[in-house]
């Protein structure tokens, strides 16, 4: 192919940055940060280019690049994006770039920090740009290592120690991936013979899996549901999430809550649902139920929190419940809502965590009763914080409202009363989001914070970038849905076709 390998460049730009940084002297702090920024910026610019040049008229997988790799296993280094993966790829590229600037003040071993951060970004990116299950798993495992190191070296210890938080998060990720691996291996073994040549691409597996028995589909889906579910912090496998975010440094919280979690949702849709539709149909009510439990439970728990990061941590568990509910609705509207909401949540959670990061950096506390009146001293951070809080509570006009609304429609059509419980979550969400803002930012200013400096220069980048996406995406939801439609409509058509055939068995 003579075309410019755009996806490969998006994927490798942060790696290139990491390599350059490795050869820079560790004293050149500013240069190191600039290199990291340049690498992630390249990624982001190209991701935007890809997003807006993706041909929605044609649809399907585009920007394809295939390099055969392990013939015996049918593994191909297969890059390509469609309407399901494209928004998430764009998301990680935006968050990666913002995370670099949110970490601008990291002074402790900055070279190592930014190298690991760039590797982390690449790992997450890889899971979204590939169309091959093996490569997906490879990148997924690649994510775990930098996350662990980043937390235990640059993390913070509050309710739990950072070592505990890092360990808990890592082990959860690994247990999830172990189950996933069982499912994948079983899937591969059972389908390997069917098509003649083994094929690890999603499409190939989906074709082959049609011949699986109903029982096989059901148990394989269950295993994958556990794997992906614990990754997306599905209730009751969520408890790593608040602790993990609280312990992690800002950039890791941003990327983890923003996109890494979404690998779970993406995997559920792209792999579990697409390859095992019969299993999905069986488990759909369970997914929806666990989703609703998560929404209500985590929202209530968030209400009782006093640490800003815990509030957002529980809030993100609650919001991922909406995604589970939407996936459980097994409809185009639901899947559209789920993907759009993952994008929206990524942006707002990242903005939230970056603003909390700045507050913590400046006041050295995240404990809400110790804060208050900050809007006078640090108005820009406060504005960003409130913007994120309002997006969290689903304010129309910001990016999260329309996806939330679509999810409600899909869930309501399918599950009626159950959905009502989830929708009631919007009240509790408003309660904790506004309380956090009110007690941390408003009220009489405190003397001890009079000397604080508001964010300026490079520190403004996360607010500007994420804030812009937050508003533009809210005013023009078609920017998201036109692309997502290209992925979900064919996906759902395949699933429905498979379910009709599945009836014959």
């Amino acid at each position: 192919m003579g075309e410019f390998p755009v996806l490969l460049t998006i994927l490798l730009a942060p790696v290139a940055a990491a390599l350059i940084m490795a050869f820079l002297p560790r004293e050149e702090k500013l240069l190191i940060k600039c290199v990291a920024a340049a690498g992630t910026f390249t990624s982001m610019a190209l991701a935007f280019y890809t997003y807006f040049t993706y041909d929605t008229g044609t649809g399907g997988v585009q920007f394809v690049q295939q390099i055969p790799w392990i013939k015996d296993l049918g593994v191909t280094f297969y890059l390509g994006v469609d309407g399901v993966s494209l928004p998430l790829m764009l998301l990680i590229s935006i968050l990666g770039f913002s995370a670099v600037f949110a970490s601008w003040n990291v002074d402790h071993r900055p070279r190592d920090f930014f190298i690991l951060l760039c590797l982390l970004i690449t790992g997450v990116m890889g899971t979204f740009v590939t169309q091959d299950l093996f490569i997906f798993l490879l990148f997924y495992e690649m994510v775990v290592i930098p996350i662990y190191i980043l937390i235990i070296i640059w993390g913070s210890t509050k309710r739990v120690t950072k070592e505990y938080a890092g360990m808990k998060l890592t082990i959860y990720l690994l247990i999830g991936s172990a189950f996933l691996l069982v499912g994948v291996v079983a899937l591969f073994m059972k389908t390997a013979g069917i098509l003649g040549a083994p094929d690890m691409s999603f499409a190939g597996l989906a074709r082959a899996a049609k011949s699986l028995s109903q029982f096989d589909q059901i148990w394989m889906f269950a295993v994958m549901l556990f794997g992906f579910g614990s990754l997306i912090s599905m209730w009751p496998f969520h408890s790593w999430s608040p602790d993990g975010y609280a312990g992690a440094p800002t950039a890791v919280s941003m990327i983890h809550a923003g996109v890494l979690k979404k690998i779970g949702g993406y995997g559920l849709i792209r792999i579990a649902l697409y390859v095992l539709p019969v299993g999905a149909q069986f488990w759909a009510p369970v997914m929806a139920f666990l989703g609703v439990c998560g929404v209500v439970y985590a929202a209530m728990a968030a209400l009782a929190q006093k640490d800003l990061k815990y509030i957002v941590g529980y809030s993100s568990v609650s919001h991922m419940g909406y995604v589970m509910l939407a996936v459980g609705s097994l409809s185009v509207i639901g899947l559209n809502g789920a993907i759009a909401y993952m994008f929206a949540h990524g942006i707002m959670a990242a903005l939230f965590f970056s603003m909390i990061g700045f507050i913590y950096e400046k006041t050295h506390t995240r404990w809400v009763p110790d804060l208050g009146g900050l809007h006078r001293q640090i108005p820009k951070i406060s504005a960003g914080f409130m913007l994120a809080a309002l997006a969290t509570l689903g304010l129309p006009g910001l990016i999260s409202f329309i996806p939330e609304f679509t999810i409600f429609i899909a869930a309501f059509n399918k599950y009626g009363g159950l959905a009502v419980a989830a929708i009631a979550g919007v009240i509790v969400t408003a309660l904790y989001a506004l309380r956090a803002g009110a007690y941390a930012l408003f009220g009489p200013p405190r003397e001890e914070y009079d000397h604080l400096q508001d964010i300026k220069g490079p520190e403004l980048v996360p607010l500007v970038v994420l804030g812009t996406v937050l508003v533009v995406g809210g005013l023009l939801p078609s920017l998201l849905f036109n692309v997502i439609n290209c992925g979900t409509i064919p996906l759902m058509a395949e699933i429905n076709a498979a379910l009709q055939i599945g009836g014959k068995f």
Partner: protein, 640 residues
């Protein structure tokens, strides 16, 4: 020009939005420029709205078939959402009213907000407020309207909490948003049900489908449920019982904001929503009944509270709740004409009253207790006399605006056969006259309080007052029973001309007059206010109950702090001690124990490992020898 304005009606909400953006990002350091941009945008919008209204009112066919300019917002299979502008007499009237009253309030704010450090920010927020309200009014679909709906909620949050360093302002803002959120939960469910059953949320399409709801397999009970859920939204936003609690606290914001919230934007949004989806309510008489009862009850309930309050803006706030109750009552008894008419006249006199109160507050350095005022009429003649116009208008004395619209409501209630509601509404009219003139006499007449040194406000504040006073006088003349142009423009179904009912007219004037006289007797003629103090002492229980607003705030506070926070704590403790403590850490501990157990075997001695290795190989051989036929031969052969 009319043609041009109607084709560019989308500019009406857009211009204040642009003003917001321009102020926030560009002109914030220059307060006066910011104010001029906001006022300019609003006046231009008003200019467009005027011509649009002329265009709409000169084309009567628009009542039957509203003019809709819509574009696709986003779509997916099974869901297509449009946004656009819907022009019919109701929306045109609202746009005109909002921009007109809004412009006057903005001009007033130039003076009122003087020397405030947040001057520019204030003007950006109020511009956004007006923009969202205009979007809400002009929207052609329920989703779009919901955007405006929540948008005004957001702006009221920002503006009520404008003095963020004050804890009371912060709490009031939060309360307003969350109370409305609770109500919007119902509205949201109603919208989902509507979409589920009719597959669209465009007003035009819904208006066509809902009258034939049986064709869409929708039962009457479902439709009633939908109507009820949709009505939840207005209960919150329009401050109807039992979700009225946020509105009195909303006075924490700067006074022009109170005027905006109470007159032109925000609270009337609920009334407008009910009017907009009248085709839905019309099909379900039971919910119509509920609307009427809620309105009638709220009107009386709030009026009784207003009688005992002491803070000037708080009295006005309860009067708003009461007056909005009137509007709901009118809609509930099926008279869209009367409800919207009262909305129209109320906007002028309530804006006037709030701005007048603001003028007083500035003069008295924000001392708000009416009992500490007195004699202000002499020192502040323009404020005083215009305030008196507002009081007469709201009390319902002809020929002022409030009389005509209140008369229409009483008439509609009577004609529909709701005698109890009629009696309640009539009694409310009496109370209204009483508490408004109590306020007036206490603040503007009598002895001056020597602690005060009031002086009249600058012209930039008094000129809007004069304009509003004129509108409070003439605003009702479009709807007099003898020449009722209003009812030919704004109606649901077909226009309804009530016969002039002199009994009702005279009756309501007598009641209002009685209220005014009683107020005069207690608060003006009786210089020392001895009799009224005596009265309050004799009925101590009732007085305390009313003064404390029936303790509803306390009940909600208790619910919030005990039930909600208690439940939250339980969930959180469950998470820490059960999910995390027992399950997660439990699994980890068991794994750890296994590790400990296995550690015994990891001795590090090569001999031990060799022994285990040898035993293992032996075991494998033994097993294979007995089970595998392939290997049994060589193994047994070797043994032999």
């Amino acid at each position: 020009m009319v043609e041009y304005a109607m084709n560019h009606a989308w500019l009406i909400p857009l211009l204040p939005t642009l003003a917001f953006v321009a102020i926030i990002f560009l002109t914030r350091p220059w307060p006066l420029l910011s104010a001029l941009i906001a006022v300019g945008a609003m006046l231009t919008s008003c200019f467009f709205a005027t011509f649009t209204a002329i265009g709409v009112f000169t084309s009567p066919e628009l009542t039957e078939k509203p003019l809709v300019y819509a574009v696709n917002w986003f779509n997916m299979p099974g869901m297509e959402i449009n946004v656009g502008i819907l022009l019919d007499p109701v929306s045109a009237m609202m746009m005109f009213m909002v921009t007109l009253v809004g412009s006057l309030i903005f001009i007033y704010a130039i003076g009122y907000m003087q020397d405030d450090p947040g001057y520019s920010v204030f003007f950006s927020y109020v511009s956004l407020f007006a923009a969202f309200m205009l979007l809400l009014v002009a929207s052609s679909s329920l989703v779009e309207m919901f955007v405006g709906w929540e948008g005004v909620g957001l702006c009221s949050y920002l503006l009520i909490g404008f003095y963020q360093h004050k804890i009371s302002a912060r709490e009031a803002a939060k309360k307003a948003f969350i109370t409305c959120r609770v109500a919007d939960f119902g509205l949201l469910l109603g919208m989902l049900l509507l979409f589920w059953n009719f597959g669209t949320l465009d007003f035009a399409a819904l208006a066509e489908k809902i009258p034939h709801f049986q064709q869409y397999n929708v039962s009457a009970a479902t439709l009633a449920l939908i109507a009820f859920l949709v009505f939840c939204g207005p209960i919150g936003k329009s401050g109807q019982f039992p979700l009225h609690v946020w509105l009195p606290d909303a006075m924490e914001g700067p006074t022009p904001v109170s005027a905006l919230i109470h007159a032109a934007t925000m609270v009337v949004a609920g009334v407008y929503l009910v009017a907009r989806v009248m085709f839905l309510f019309h099909e379900v008489p039971s919910v119509m009944q509920l609307v009427a009862v809620t309105g009638g009850f709220t009107a009386l309930f709030a009026a009784t509270i207003a009688v005992t309050q002491r803070e000037i803006k708080r009295i006005l706030a309860y009067s708003t709740i009461s007056q909005i109750g009137y509007m709901m009552l009118a809609l509930g008894v099926g008279s869209l004409t009367a409800g919207m008419f009262h909305l129209w006249t109320h906007a002028f006199f309530k804006a006037l009253l709030f701005l007048g109160a603001g003028s007083v507050l500035v003069a008295l350095h924000h001392k708000a207790d009416v009992w500490e005022m007195g004699g202000l009429l002499k020192k502040m003649p323009i404020t005083g006399w215009t305030f008196l116009v507002g009081c007469i208008a709201i009390a319902g004395i002809p020929p002022f605006a409030g009389f005509w619209s209140k008369d229409e409501i009483l008439l509609a209630t009577l004609e529909s056969g709701h005698y109890v509601l009629f009696a309640m509404a009539a009694f409310t009219a009496f109370l209204t006259a009483f508490y408004m003139f109590r306020l007036f006499f206490l603040a503007f007449t009598g002895a001056e309080n020597p602690a005060n040194h009031p002086k009249e406000s600058p012209w930039v504040m008094t000129v809007p007052l004069i304009f509003l006073a004129i509108f409070s006088l003439v605003g009702g003349w479009v709807g007099t029973p003898w020449a009722n142009v209003w009812s030919e423009w704004i109606f649901f179904g077909h226009p309804h001309h009530g016969e002039p009912n002199y009994m009702v007219m005279i009756g309501s004037v007598v009641l209002a007059g009685l209220g005014i006289y009683l107020a005069y007797y207690f608060y003006c003629a009786d210089r020392e206010k001895v009799k009224v103090r005596e009265l309050a002492r004799r009925y101590q229980g009732i007085y305390t109950l009313l003064y404390n607003k029936y303790y509803i705030d306390e009940i909600y506070l208790w619910l919030n702090h005990t039930l909600v926070d208690g439940a939250a704590k339980i969930f959180y403790l469950f998470d820490i001690y059960v999910v995390d403590g027992i399950i997660v850490n439990g699994v980890a501990a068991i794994t750890g124990l296994f590790g400990e157990g296995l550690r015994v075997t990891a001795t590090g001695r090569l001999q031990n490992y060799a022994l285990v290795f040898f035993l293992g190989v032996l075991a494998v051989f033994v097993v294979l020898a007995f089970t595998s036929p392939l290997l049994a031969g060589p193994i047994w052969g070797g043994v032999r």
